[in-house]
């Protein structure tokens, strides 16, 4: 019987183990030397203070928080099973232990659900609720800061900017915001809106346009982003996401980071697609309000499509902009609806357009 209880004991003073006998009574562990004398003057080590781990068919029982003294018991020892069970029963089971007992697949599902919930809150609810607390003035201040940081890094085409601003001033684009247009000397075919009223147009996109209505379409599109506070919402959800990423995933290895990045790309695909569509449609309404032919939107989109085709092949599925063809189809639908809308040629716009085209040609 005595052999059953023999374990290898490490006393925490020396690395040399010695054989010891253990006894379990009233949820306490007592240790004896082989000659029967009490170890540590017969101190009782309560089971629920012990921690333990398994390695290669051996159970390591650490008797105190400091992890020494400890003893090792082999699986071949008949007492192994009982001790192991007792320790398991005594163990305080917290959230961590409860979760760890689940299957890995369930854990993955819980994780994905949680991330989705937080994701939804941060990208959908947070932006919509916070923008209410931000006044148009504050929004303009934020936009102005971003604008300042952008223009220190890019070249402004000042002559074209004056004409483009003049052009925009002829139109009614926003009730709330003062629309201010800047033309940047950039070949990339792009234009974007900042919160609060700044529209930045790359000279590249001006080059592919042939009609003043296309510029009206572009301004209408970007103004919608501003009026509907799309960029402000985007900004807030980005900040929320990066904060979330920083606090919840810091130092957790690559996992959380990667999941979030993938989710972020996917979200940008659908999110920005729906926003772009909204901006197209609302932009065309703005054109109608200004009595400008909304067909300009279609022309602009067709030019975009052509220029995309002539440059690098575009893997539209992964592109963050919606398929241009889809957008053209949508524009067509709206055009049919407003087939009888009254539009008129606006000589003012034509003149400024002419000057603007001239400026941008000279600049290149």
């Amino acid at each position: 019987m005595i052999d059953q209880y023999t374990v290898l004991f490490y006393d925490g003073n020396r690395s040399l183990p010695r054989k010891a006998r253990i006894e379990l009574s009233d949820q306490n562990i007592y240790l004896f030397d082989e000659d029967g004398t009490n170890i540590d003057n017969g101190v009782a080590y309560p089971l629920n203070n012990c921690s333990y781990s398994y390695l290669e068919n051996r159970l390591f029982v650490y008797l105190e928080k400091s992890a020494h003294p400890y003893f090792v018991i082999d699986q071949t020892n008949p007492f192994y099973e009982e001790l192991s069970n007792q320790l398991t029963n005594q163990k305080k089971v917290g959230w961590y232990e409860k979760l760890l007992q689940q299957k890995w697949l369930s854990l993955c599902i819980i994780l994905i659900l949680l991330i989705s919930i937080f994701y939804f809150i941060l990208t959908e609810i947070l932006p919509i609720t916070t923008v209410r607390f931000i006044s148009s003035n504050q929004e303009s201040t934020i936009g102005e800061k971003i604008y300042q940081s952008i223009i220190t890094e890019s070249k402004i085409d000042s002559a074209a900017t004056i004409q483009a601003q003049h052009f925009a001033d002829q139109l009614k684009l926003s009730n709330k915001y003062k629309i201010s247009v800047t033309v940047l000397k950039e070949d990339e075919i792009n234009a974007y809106a900042l919160p609060g009223g700044h529209i930045l147009i790359n000279s590249g996109i001006l080059k592919i346009m042939d009609h003043p209505e296309e510029l009206v379409a572009l301004l209408g599109h970007e103004s919608t982003h501003i009026n509907r506070r799309h960029s402000l919402k985007g900004l807030i959800s980005n900040m929320g996401l990066s904060l979330f990423q920083a606090i919840a995933f810091s130092g957790m290895g690559g996992v959380g980071d990667l999941i979030l990045k993938n989710a972020s790309t996917l979200r940008q695909l659908s999110y920005s697609r729906s926003l772009e569509r909204e901006a197209d449609l609302e932009g065309m309404n703005l054109m109608l309000e200004n009595k400008v032919d909304p067909a300009g939107m279609k022309m602009l989109l067709s030019h975009l499509q052509k220029s995309i085709k002539t440059s690098i092949p575009n893997f539209s599925f992964i592109s963050t902009h919606p398929l241009t063809q889809e957008r053209i189809d949508d524009a067509n639908k709206l055009l049919l609806k407003h087939i009888n809308a009254t539009t008129q040629k606006q000589p003012e716009l034509d003149i400024i357009w002419g000057l603007l085209k001239k400026e941008s040609k000279e600049a290149h």
Partner: protein, 317 residues
């Protein structure tokens, strides 16, 4: 005692570690990150308990509570730095922002040696084998002096002295790590380390990156082969047995795992790598590991460790 080989092994399983990571992630998300210190303790507990030397596992005795205290201190410190930047931005003065950022960079660089010192003290005091604590016995002001002196040389030599810097730091820190009464020693040489990296860099360029694996192997060799442990009666020497080809296999498969699992395979990357490392370190000598004596004190302030985590710089070893 006669010279013999000692056994170092990693027994961890990818799936076990994966579950630990996922559970930790879940709890970190629910608690908005406040679970982090406990998550870290659980992770280290697992990885230590699955690493054995001479058939006895290592034990990490640090706790989430300790690290949480450090976490809060580190967090407040960093929040103050951020607050300074935001105040500067809101005051709207570009010059002020730049000065604030510059000052913060200087503070950051200034505290690196303090963070190194503190995190080694904590981590080593919380590492145990056969009931014997490890310990870091380095002197803070010595480390600070070494750090600034070498940093200065590194800057004025446009980074070339970095190789010597790196080796001096390693020699000092590892040279002050003890396992009970046994002392570690690292004898790296800046010149050798510089040549090793220069060779690695140039050959990687010439071979379009293929040599990177052999460069890694050379680095691993250099880190392992110069490490030894001694007590009053004997020594133990470390030797790497890894080959460049094996490194290529390890790193390429790791890369593929990360790519094809969209990062979820991270746990397997860690366990495979640890297994590889432990399996490729040969330990030989005549130390009697049953004669180690408890000599190192406990130390429970985890502020520096948490700071190192928040700033995200890896442990030097």
């Amino acid at each position: 005692m006669e010279k013999r080989f000692f056994e170092l092994r990693f027994h961890g399983k990818g799936i076990e570690y994966f579950k630990i990571i996922i559970v930790n992630l879940i709890l970190c998300i629910i608690t908005l990150g406040f679970y982090y210190p406990w998550a870290k303790a659980k992770t280290l507990n697992y990885l230590y308990s699955q690493t054995s030397f001479e058939n006895q596992p290592f034990v990490f005795t640090g706790t989430g509570n300790e690290m949480f205290r450090g976490f809060i201190k580190a967090f407040i410190f960093i929040a103050l730095l951020y607050a300074a930047v935001f105040t500067a931005v809101f005051l709207g003065n570009g010059g002020l922002v730049q000065i604030t950022i510059l000052v913060i960079y200087l503070i950051f660089i200034a505290i690196i040696p303090l963070i190194l010192h503190g995190s080694y003290r904590y981590r080593m005091a919380k590492t145990q084998w056969s009931g014997i604590r490890f310990g870091y016995t380095g002197n803070r002001s010595e480390l600070v002096k070494l750090f600034y002196r070498d940093l200065f040389f590194t800057i004025i030599t446009f980074g070339i002295y970095g190789a010597w810097f790196s080796m001096n730091l390693r020699n000092y820190i590892l040279g002050h790590v003890q396992m009970g009464n046994a002392k570690f020693k690292y004898k790296g040489n800046g010149g050798d380390f510089f040549v090793l990296n220069l060779k690695g860099y140039l050959l990687s360029l010439v071979t379009l990156g293929i040599y990177i694996f052999w460069w890694q192997k050379d680095l691993f060799d250099y880190y392992i082969n110069n490490l030894s442990l001694s007590d009053n009666e004997g020594n133990m020497y470390c030797k790497s047995s890894a080959t460049g080809g094996e490194f290529a296999g390890l790193l390429i498969v790791n890369f593929l795992i990360i790519i094809f699992t969209l990062g979820l395979g991270y746990a397997w990357v860690v366990t495979r790598t640890l297994e590889f490392v432990m399996n490729h370190i040969l330990l030989k000598g005549d130390i009697d590991f049953e004669k180690l004596i408890q000599t190192q004190p406990d130390y429970s302030d985890a502020t520096a460790t948490d700071m190192a985590d928040i700033f995200d710089f890896g442990f030097v070893v």
